[in-house]
Amino acid sequence: MKNPPRFADLLLELFCAPHLLEEVQGDLYERYVRDVRQLGVAKANQKYILNVLGFLRPFAIKRQSSEYSSPEYRTTFFLSPVMLRNYLKTAVRNLTKHRVSTLINLFGLTLGVTACLVIYVITNYELSYDTFHPDSERIYRLVGEAQFGPTGEKHPVGFPPNAVPLALRQEVSGIETIAAFHSVESDVLIPNGSQKPKRFESRRRTGGNADIIVAEPQYFDILKYEWLAGNPKTALNDPFKVVLSEQKAHKYFGDLPLEQILGKEVIYVDSVRVSVAGIVKDWSQPTDFTFTDFISFATIRASQLKREINLDQWNDIWSASQALVKLPKGVTPDQLAVPFQQFSRNHIQKEVKFEPGLQPLSDLHFNDDYQDNYSRKAHLPTLYGLMAVAGFILLIAAINFINLATAQSVQRAKEVGIRKVMGSSRKGLIIQFLSETALLTLVSVLIALALIKPILSVFQTLTPNGLTFDLLSAQTLLFLGIVVLTTSLLAGFYPSWVLSSYVPALTLKGQSALTGGQKGYLRKGLIIFQFAVSLVFIIGTLMVGRQLNFMRNKDLGFSTDAIIEVNTLRDDKSLVLAQKIKQLAGVERVAMQWFPVMGQSHMVTKLKYKGKKEVEMDVSAKIGDENFIPLYQLRFLAGRNYMKSDSLREMVINATYAKALGFKRPADAVNQFIDFQGKPYPIVGVVADFHEQSFHEKIGAVFLGYMPRQAKNIGVKLATKGGQLSDLKTTLSSIEQQWKEVYPDNKFDYTFLDESIAKLYEKEQKTAQLVNTATAIAILISCMGLFGLATFTAEQRTKEIGVRKVLGASVASIVGLLSKDFLKLVFIALVIASPIAWWAMNQWLKDFAYKIDLDWWVFALAGLMAITIALFTVGFQSIKAALVNPVKSLRSE
C-alpha cells in the first residue's frame, strides 16, 4: 500500500497533541487511502498535506489532556520537575558507572573548553581595542599615500606631513573636527626645590607605552576623557601647558591631592618648562592611545620644540606626526576622496607627494600598512587562526563523546527498551541523554573557569601585554552559555538520537543487533577526522620548528658571536665612552655604529650611479666607522675596507648592489663613483651578501660607510678566548662602570646581537609555541578517545578472543587483529591531512624570502608519529586482551 508523504506525517506528529494523534492520524490515513483510489497518488498526497495543515488549530496543538481522555493516554510531560529530577539522577548514575569513559570525556571536554575560553579571552581583548569611544564609528585617523620623487613608488603611510592637518582644517569642508598631535620621546624632569630635579627616563630607554604627545585642544573633543581637575575648555589653549593622566600625575608628584598638582612645573626635552593645567582619568579599557602627558600644541612654536617639529613642513614626513579626524553624522570617507585629491594637487611638492586618506579607528589596531610609533598591531589572521584552533579542539573533544557514547549504546539498549515500555516518549529519552552531556559540559566549564588564571599566567609570553579580563561580565557568561549549549548539542544529539530510536521489542529480546547505518561508519569517519586534525597540527609543528631552526642556524653572512650593542644617548659623550670601553680587558674590538648590521632598524636612501647607463635606486645604509666591517667579520669579495676618516669619504657596497649596477665581477665595481646627496664617492670594496633584515625580506642593495653624525652607538666584540660565562659577566660589569662615569643619570642599556636578531622572529616563536600547544592538546584528546574505544572493543570481543586462542591463535595475531582497524583509519587520516597541511604551510611560508622546502619526508614522519602514537594507545589494550587466559573469558556465559 502506498504511504502518505513522510514529512507531512512527521509534521503532524510534531505539533499534534499526543492524546489526539491516533484518531487524527487514523482519520487522515483512511481518507488518504480513499483519495489514492479515487484521485491517484499525486492528488492524494497533495490533499493529505493540506489536511495535515488544516489541523494547525489550537484544539489540536493544545497539549494538556483534559478529563475526557482515558487514563491510558496520560504520560508525564517530558519537562515536568519529576522527570527532570529523574534525568539528573540517571545521568549521575550512568556517569559514575562508566568511570573510564566519563573521565576521558571530562578530560577532553575540559581541555577543549579551557582552550576555547583562553582563546576567547585573548581574541576578545584584541578585538575590543578602542571600541569604547563614543561615536567611534565616526572617528578616523589621517593617513595617506606618499610618493618620494616623481618616479618613486606610492606607498601607504600612517602619518601626514606636519603642515597637512592644519591646512586641511582651512581648505577642506565636510570634516567636523580635526586634531593634530605629535608624539615626543624624551626624559621628563620634575624640579625638586634646590635639589637635583627628579628624572623619569624616556620610553626609548625603558620600553614602555608611548606616553608624551603635543596635542591640539581638539584632541579632547574627539577622544573623550573624564576630567578630574582643570578646565577642559581652556587647559590646552595656551603655550607651556600640560594635561596629565591621573596615574602619571601621581607618578610625578606622589600622593599630592590632584588640585595641588595643578600649576606644578614639568620639564620636557631638557628645557621646555610647562605647567600642569589639567588632570584626566586614565582609560581602563584596551586602547592604542596610551598617552598620559598632553603638552599644549601652542608650545611648539613658542619653544625649542620648533626645531624638532617644523609645522610648516610639506616635503618630508615623520612618524611622530599624527592627526585624528571626526566626521559629521552621515558623511563617509568616500565623500572626501575628491576633495582630498584636489587638496593634494594644490600642494604638489618636489620631494614628497602626499594624498590624504582616512583610516577607521577600528582598523588602527590591525592594519600593518599604516605604521606609527605608538600602536601595537595585532595580526588578524593569527586571531582567526586561534579561533579555528579552539573550535577544532572542542570538536575533537565532542567527537570523543559521540564515539564512546555510540559504542556503548548497546549496553544501554535494555534501559531504552524498558523506558519505552514504561511509556517514555522519544523526546523524553533524547532529553535524558542530552542532560548527561550537559552535566559533563557544565562540570568541564567550571573546571575551565578555575584553571584559566593559572593557565594565562603560564602562557604569559603568548598573550598580549596588559591583557585584562572579567570572567563574570555578561559577555563572558553569554559566551560560556553558548559553549555549554553547542557542546552538549554537538556531542549529545547524535548518540541520543540513535539510542532513542531503538525498538523496545528487539532490544528487550536480547538482540543487541545494530540497526541500519550503525556498522560504525560514522564512528570511523569521526576518528579519521580527529586524526586528520591532529596530523595537520603535527605537520605544522614539524614545519614551523624546521623553519625556526633554519633561521637560527643559517649563515647570516656575518658573525654574531659575543657582540653587544650599547645604546648611547647619541651625543658626543658616546665617543668618550667608546674610548674607555676600548681600553678594557676582555674587549676585542669596538666600533662606532648607527645600528648593527642586522636588526629591526634600517634606513634606505637613494643612490645614483652614472655609468654607461644611469642607475638610481633605493639602497640600504649601514653606517659605522672603520672598525665596523672587521667587527662583524663581513667577507670582502674585492677591494678593501674604508680608511679611518672624520666624514664620509669612501664606500663599500655588497654583491647584490654591485650586480644591480651592472658589474659582472665584484672587482669591476671597485674605484667606480656613486652619487649620494649630490656628491660622488668612490667604491673601495665589495663585501659578500649578508642578511640585514629578517628572513621575510630578500637581501637587497646595501652600502657601508662612515657618517660621524649617525654613528653614535657602540658595537662591542667581547673576547671569548677560553670563553667562560663569568668572563663575559665581569667584562659587562666593567663596561657598565665606564657607562656610569659617562652617563651618571641614565641606565646602562645594551643588547646582545643574537638576542636582538632572535627578536625579529618573535611572532614566529609565538606561532611555534602555539602550534606546539595545540598539537599536544589535539593529540592528547584524540588518543584518549582512541584509548576509550580500544578498551571498549577489547571488552566486547573477549569471547571471540578466547575462542581464537583456544583454536590456536598467537598473541601477536590477536594484537594485530585488534590494532589493524585503527591503524587503517590513521592511515586514511594521513592521506586526507597531507594536502591540507601542505596548503596551510605553503601559505605560512609564503611570507619568508628564505625558507625551507616542504619535503615529503616531513609528512611521512608525521604519519609515522601518528601511527606510533595510535599503536601505543591501542596496543596496550590489545595486548591486555590477548593475554587473558581463555579459561577465564569463556568460563561464564
Binding site: E23, V24, Q25, D27, L28, F55, R57, F59
Partner: protein, 112 residues
Amino acid sequence: MKRTYLGEFEEIVLLTVAVLHESAYGVAITDELDRQTGRSVSISAVHAALHRLEEKGMLKSAMGEATAERGGRRKRLFTVTALGSRALHDIRAMRDQLWSSISPNALPAISI
C-alpha cells in the same frame, strides 16, 4: 430559558452523529455530511467541532477498534449525550413553534 448556544455547523455535526448512530467518527461524519448536505468540509473542521461539542458535554466518546486501512490505528466513536439530545429537541421545538406561527401568505411563494 437558559441553554447552551449551538452554532449552525455544530448543530449539523451533532445531528449527523445521531444519524450515524454507533459508528460516528471523524471521517464517517465528514462523508455523511457531504452526502446529506452537499457540503464539502475538511476533516480538521469536523474534528474541531466534535472537540467543542464534547467540551460542552453534548457528545461523549470512546476508542473503537483498529482497522487496516487506518494503518492499525483506532478510531474515536462519538455518541450523543442526554444534554445533546435535549439541545437538539429544544432547537427543533423552537423551530416548529416558529413555523406554526407564520401566516400562510407571509412568505413569498417560491416559483418552481
